[in-house]
C-alpha cells in the first residue's frame, strides 16, 4: 500500500526533476531530505516557494517539489528576491537553497540583512567548502589547513556562517551533514515549523573536487569528526505528544510556531539552544579541534518577522483588489485641493 501524508498525498507529489549533479554529490542527498521533510510535514506543495542563487547547490530546486513555484535567481542575491516576494505574499512558505560561495562570498551582504530583518524563510546552505560549479576553487567557509583534491591547503581563516547568524540574532540556527539523514530531516522539519529566519548550514561534500581525506568537508572526515550536540526528534503537531515514546535518558522539548515539537536528547553534555554564548562556544571549541558541531545551535522563537513590523493589512498584498490598491477619484481631488490651498492660503 502506498503511504500518504496528512494531506493524503503520496511522496511522489513532492518530487522534482532528474538531477544533473555528479553522482554522489551531497547536494542530492539534501534534495531528498527536503522532499521527505515537506511530505512528512504535510505542507501543501503549491504553498511553497523554492528560492535559490547560482551554483550546483542552487540548481537543486529543479530536483525537488515540482508542484511548487520557484526562482533560481542570480549569484548571491536570492535573499533580496525572497524579501520582495515575501512582502507581496507573506503566506508563502519559502524554502531556499544556497551554496557557500553564493552565501559567504558574493551574497554575504544579503545574507546578513535577511537575518537582520528576520525574513520568514528556511535558508539552507549546502556547504562544501568549494565553488563546485566553477570547478573547485576554495570558498570562504573552508577551514584553515583543509586541502581539496588539487592544489595547496587553504591558508585563510574561515567564515563560520552559523556563528555569524547567532551573532546577528538569527532566530533558528542549526548545522548538519548531508550524510546524517535522520538528524537533517528532523532539523529541517523543525525549520519548516518555525516562523522567522531558519538557517541550516549543511556540510555537503563535493565528490568531484573535495572528497579527499585531507578535505575537512569530505565524507570520511566529517563522519569521524562529527560532534553531535544532541539527538533530535521531530514530533509533528498532528501526532499527539502523549503517544510518543518517552526516551530513557535526559531530554528537553522545544515548541515550534505551528505547534510541533523538537525533542533534544542529551548526548554527553547538555546544550541549551536558548543560550547564544553557549552556541558560540560550541562552534569555536569544535573549530579549534578541527571538528564539526551539529544540531540545533540556537533558537529564539516569537520574534517579529520582516512583514510584522511594517503595519501591513492582513490580506497578503497579492490578494488585494484594484479598488484597494488605487485610491478613489475623490481622494485625488482632495490632494489637489490641499496643494492649491497651501499655494494660496
Amino acid at each position: 500500500m502506498v503511504k500518504l501524508n496528512v494531506l493524503n498525498l503520496e511522496k511522489s507529489e513532492y518530487k522534482g526533476g532528474k538531477s544533473s549533479l555528479c553522482p554522489g554529490c551531497g547536494h542530492d542527498q539534501i534534495s531528498n531530505v527536503i522532499i521527505q521533510a515537506a511530505w512528512e510535514n504535510g505542507i501543501k506543495p503549491e504553498g511553497i516557494a523554492k528560492m535559490s542563487g547560482i551554483g550546483c547547490s542552487s540548481k537543486t530546486p529543479a530536483y525537488f517539489l515540482a508542484k511548487s513555484h520557484g526562482f533560481n535567481t542570480v549569484h548571491g542575491r536570492m535573499p533580496s528576491v525572497t524579501t520582495g516576494a515575501n512582502m507581496i505574499n507573506k503566506d508563502l512558505a519559502f524554502i531556499a537553497v544556497s551554496g557557500d560561495g553564493d552565501t559567504a562570498s558574493i551574497g554575504i551582504g544579503q545574507f546578513i540583512h535577511a537575518i537582520r530583518r528576520n525574513l520568514d524563510m528556511v535558508y539552507i546552505i549546502e556547504n562544501n567548502g568549494v565553488y563546485g560549479l566553477t570547478k573547485g576553487q576554495y570558498s570562504a567557509t573552508v577551514e584553515k589547513g583543509s586541502k581539496k583534491k588539487k592544489g595547496t591547503a587553504n591558508e585563510q581563516a574561515p567564515i563560520d556562517l552559523c556563528a555569524m547568524a547567532v551573532n546577528l540574532g538569527c532566530t533558528f540556527v542549526a548545522r548538519s551533514f548531508s550524510g546524517s539523514k535522520k538528524q537533517l530531516t528532523a532539523l529541517l522539519r523543525a525549520a519548516m515549523s518555525h516562523r522567522g529566519m531558519a538557517i541550516i548550514d549543511v556540510i555537503s561534500p563535493c565528490v568531484t573536487f573535495a572528497n579527499n581525506d585531507e578535505s575537512y568537508r569530505s565524507y570520511n572526515y566529517v563522519k569521524s569528526n562529527d560532534e553531535v550536540l544532541h539527538i533530535v526528534d521531530y514530533i509533528p503537531h498532528f501526532s499527539p505528544l502523549s503517544e510518543v515514546e518517552v526516551p530513557e535518558g535526559e531530554f528537553s522539548d522545544i515548541s515550534l510556531f505551528d505547534g510541533s515539537t523538537l525533542r533534544l536528547e542529551t548526548v554527553s553534555e547538555d546544550h541549551d539552544p536558548g543560550d547564544a554564548v553557549a552556541a558560540l562556544r560550541a562552534i569555536h571549541e569544535a573549530t579549534q579541534e578541527g571538528r564539526h558541531v551539529t544540531g540545533l545551535l540556537y533558537y529564539n522563537p516569537n520574534q517579529p518577522t520582516a512583514t510584522d513590523t511594517l503595519g501591513l493589512t492582513d490580506t497578503p498584498l497579492v490578494g488585494l483588489s484594484d479598488e484597494e490598491m488605487r485610491p478613489s477619484a475623490e481622494s485625488l481631488k482632495e490632494v489637489n485641493a490641499g496643494f492649491r490651498a497651501s499655494d494660496s492660503s
Binding site: 520557484g70 533560481n72 512582502m87 499655494d343 494660496s344
Partner: protein, 592 residues
C-alpha cells in the same frame, strides 16, 4: 522710471545650511501668488552645511523657465563666493548684499544696495540672527520689485505652516527690511512685478512628489529603496503619502516599504515582488542603476514586471551628485549584459510625472518586463506649475495573469513562455496559485520554462523578446509634436528640456529659422517619431549629455534613408539647460 515687468532673473548666492532655502521659496511663492509666471532652480552642493548654493528665480511673462542668460538682480550673502559672484555681473546689475559681511563691493558700474542684515536680525532674535538675516533680502527684493504684502504673508505662512512664532518673527524681519530699503535705497529698480490673472487651480510641485503620487495611484505594493540624491525625496514622498492614501479597511497599509541594504538588493526586491504578483518599484540615480544591472537582465529574460525610476544626476561615477543631466538614457534602454532592451518612460512636465507614475505599472504588467521612469534632478527636485493631477483615465492593466483553472483550461497549449496570442507576450501564473508551477530562471529556457541550451530554442526566445518589446512602441506615450508648415528643421528632444524649448524656439525664430519640435516621451520610440523625421529636411536631436545618447539610439534603429537627416546637439555642464547655449549650437550644426 520705465519699468520692465515680469521679465528678469534673480540669483541668490548663499551657503547651504544657513536657512536661505526658506527665504528663496518665499520670494518664489509670493510672486507665484501674484500670478507672475515664475520658476525657481536650486543649485546646491553635495554636502550638508557650509558650501556655496545658488538659487535662481526667473520671472517671465513669456513662460520661459530656463535660467536666463544674465542675472538682473544678484543677492550676495556668501563670503566664499563673494568676489567671484560680483565679478561675473554685467554692468547695471542690481546687487543686494549683507553689509555685516564686511566685504568689499567694488562695482561702481552696478547698483549696489547694502543692508546691515545680521545686525537688524539680532534685534529680533540674537540667537537666530544668522538664519534670520536671510529674511532681510526678501524684504529688500519685495521693495525693489513691488511684491504685494499680502502675497508675502501668505508665502511666509505657507513656509512656516503652523509655527506661529516663526511666522511672526519672519514677517517682522521682512517688513523691517522693506522699510529700510524704501528709506535708504529708494526707487532704483527698473525691474518690477505686476500681478497677472492667476488661475486659482495652479500650484507648484516638485517632479519627485508628482511621481510619488502617481505611484500611489498606480497601486504600488512595495517600495524598496536605498537613499541617493536626487531620488530620495521620491521615496520619502511615497512613504509620506502611504498613511493618508493607502490604508486598507483594517487600518493596515497596502504598500510595504523596505529600506534596502543597497540598490542591488532594492532591485532584487522589486523582482521578487513582481514575480509574486505585486506592483514593486524602486527609485535611484545613475550609480544605483549601474549596481542593479545584473538584476535588470533577469527582469528582461525571465519576464518579470517591475518599475525603476532613475532620477538622473551628473555622471560618470559619483560625478556631480547634486547637478542635473540626461546621461543615463542609453544605459537605461539597454542595461545589463547580452541583448536587452527596456521600456523607458520620459516625462517632461510634473503632470506627466504623475501620469507616467501610474502608467509605468500597467506597462510593466502588460509587457511582463522592467519599465524605467526617466527623470532628472532639474525636473525632480525643482518646483514646477500644474493645474492639478488628473485621475487615471484607464483601469489598472494587470496583464496576462492566469488566476483560475478555468482560465488555464481556456488556453490551448499553455507554456509559460509560449506565444499563444502572437503578440510576443505569454501567459503567466503566480506562486501560491498551484497553477502550472515552474522554476523561474535566468538561464536559457524553452517555452515551458525548462532549462535549455538548444540553439534554436535560444534564438527563437530572443526573437520573441524583441517582438514583445517592439510591440510596445505604439502603446507607449506618443511624442508631443509642434509642427511648422515649412518642414525644414525639426528638433527632437525629451524630458526636462521641455522647460527650455519655448525659449530656444523663440531664439531660433529671431534668427529667421522656423523649427518644428518633437518631444519623445518613451523608448522604444513611437512610430510618429519616424513620421516627424520623414517630414523634415534636417532634424536636430537635442539633449543634456555629452555623447548624444538619443541620437545614437535613433541612428541605430531608424531606416537608413532617415539617418542622414540627423544632427546632434548634446551639451552638458551639470546645470539646467540654458536656452542660448542650445540655440547657438543648433544654428552652428546646421550652418545657418
Amino acid at each position: 522710471m520705465d519699468k520692465i515687468y515680469n521679465d528678469f532673473t534673480i540669483n541668490v548666492a548663499t551657503a547651504n545650511g544657513t536657512g536661505s532655502q526658506s527665504s528663496n521659496l518665499i520670494i518664489l511663492h509670493s510672486m507665484f501668488e501674484m500670478g507672475v509666471p515664475v520658476s525657481g532652480k536650486n543649485l546646491f552642493p553635495s554636502n550638508i552645511s557650509g558650501l556655496p548654493t545658488w538659487f535662481i528665480i526667473r520671472a517671465s511673462d513669456k513662460g520661459y523657465q530656463a535660467p536666463g542668460d544674465e542675472t538682473n538682480i544678484q543677492i550676495i550673502m556668501n563670503k566664499d563666493t563673494w568676489e567671484k559672484d560680483l565679478k561675473a555681473l554685467e554692468p547695471g546689475t542690481i546687487v543686494i548684499f549683507n553689509e555685516d559681511a564686511k566685504m568689499p563691493v567694488e562695482r561702481d558700474d552696478c547698483i549696489c544696495l547694502g543692508m546691515p542684515m545680521t545686525t537688524m536680525a539680532r534685534g529680533i532674535s540674537p540667537k537666530m540672527a544668522r538664519l534670520m538675516a536671510n529674511m532681510y533680502y526678501v524684504g529688500g527684493i519685495a521693495h525693489l520689485l513691488g511684491i504685494d504684502e499680502g502675497a508675502i504673508s501668505s508665502a511666509v505662512e505657507q513656509q512656516f505652516r503652523g509655527k506661529e512664532n516663526a511666522i511672526t518673527m519672519n514677517l517682522q524681519a521682512i517688513s523691517e527690511a522693506r522699510s529700510y530699503a524704501s528709506e535708504n535705497w529708494g526707487d532704483v529698480s527698473k525691474f518690477a512685478v505686476v500681478a497677472r490673472d492667476k488661475s486659482s487651480d495652479t500650484f507648484l510641485i516638485e517632479g519627485n512628489e508628482a511621481v510619488a503620487l502617481g505611484c500611489i495611484y498606480g497601486g504600488i505594493n512595495m517600495l524598496s529603496w536605498y537613499p541617493i540624491t536626487p531620488s530620495s525625496s521620491l521615496a520619502e514622498s511615497i512613504i509620506n503619502w502611504i498613511p493618508k492614501l493607502r490604508e486598507a479597511g483594517d487600518g493596515g497599509s497596502t504598500c510595504a516599504v523596505v529600506q534596502a541594504e543597497d540598490e542591488l538588493a532594492a532591485a532584487g526586491m522589486v523582482l521578487g515582488a513582481g514575480w509574486a504578483g505585486g506592483r514593486g518599484m524602486t527609485c535611484t540615480s545613475g550609480p544605483g542603476i549601474s549596481l542593479m544591472s545584473e538584476f535588470i537582465g533577469l527582469f528582461y529574460f525571465a519576464e518579470v514586471p517591475g518599475v525603476i525610476w532613475d532620477i538622473n544626476r551628473t555622471g560618470p561615477s559619483t560625478g556631480l551628485p547634486t547637478r542635473t543631466q540626461q546621461g543615463d538614457l542609453s544605459m537605461c534602454y539597454e542595461a545589463s549584459h547580452g541583448d536587452t532592451q527596456h521600456i523607458v518612460l520620459i516625462p517632461g512636465t510634473v503632470d506627466e510625472c504623475f501620469e507616467f507614475g501610474w502608467r509605468a505599472f500597467d506597462y510593466a504588467e502588460r509587457f511582463q518586463t522592467l519599465v524605467f521612469g526617466f527623470g532628472d534632478l532639474d525636473l525632480g527636485m525643482n518646483r514646477w506649475s500644474t493645474s492639478g493631477f488628473d485621475y487615471p483615465s484607464e483601469k489598472m492593466d494587470r496583464g496576462k495573469v492566469i488566476r483560475t483553472q478555468e482560465q488555464m483550461d481556456a488556453i490551448p497549449d499553455f507554456g509559460r513562455y509560449r506565444d499563444v496570442d502572437g503578440d510576443g507576450v505569454a501567459y503567466r501564473t503566480l506562486p501560491g496559485s498551484g497553477l502550472a508551477p515552474i522554476l523561474y530562471r535566468g538561464t536559457g529556457h524553452d517555452e515551458d520554462g525548462i532549462y535549455s541550451e538548444d540553439p534554436d530554442v535560444y534564438y527563437q526566445a530572443m526573437q520573441r523578446l524583441k517582438r514583445k518589446i517592439d510591440g510596445s512602441r505604439d502603446v507607449l506615450p506618443a511624442p508631443v509634436i509642434r509642427e511648422e508648415e515649412e518642414g525644414d528643421v525639426g528638433i527632437i528632444f525629451y524630458g526636462s528640456m521641455e522647460n527650455s524649448i519655448v525659449e530656444i524656439d523663440d531664439m531660433l525664430e529671431e534668427r529667421g529659422m522656423s523649427v518644428s519640435t518633437c518631444r519623445v516621451r518613451a523608448l522604444p520610440y513611437h512610430s510618429e517619431v519616424e513620421g516627424f523625421i520623414e517630414r523634415h529636411n534636417r532634424v536636430v536631436v537635442m539633449e543634456i549629455n555629452r555623447d548624444g545618447q538619443l541620437y545614437g539610439i535613433l541612428r541605430k534603429e531608424l531606416p537608413r534613408h532617415l539617418i542622414s537627416k540627423l544632427y546632434s546637439v548634446a551639451y552638458s555642464d551639470g546645470l539646467p539647460p540654458k536656452a542660448r547655449e542650445y540655440a547657438n549650437r543648433v544654428a552652428e550644426v546646421l550652418g545657418d
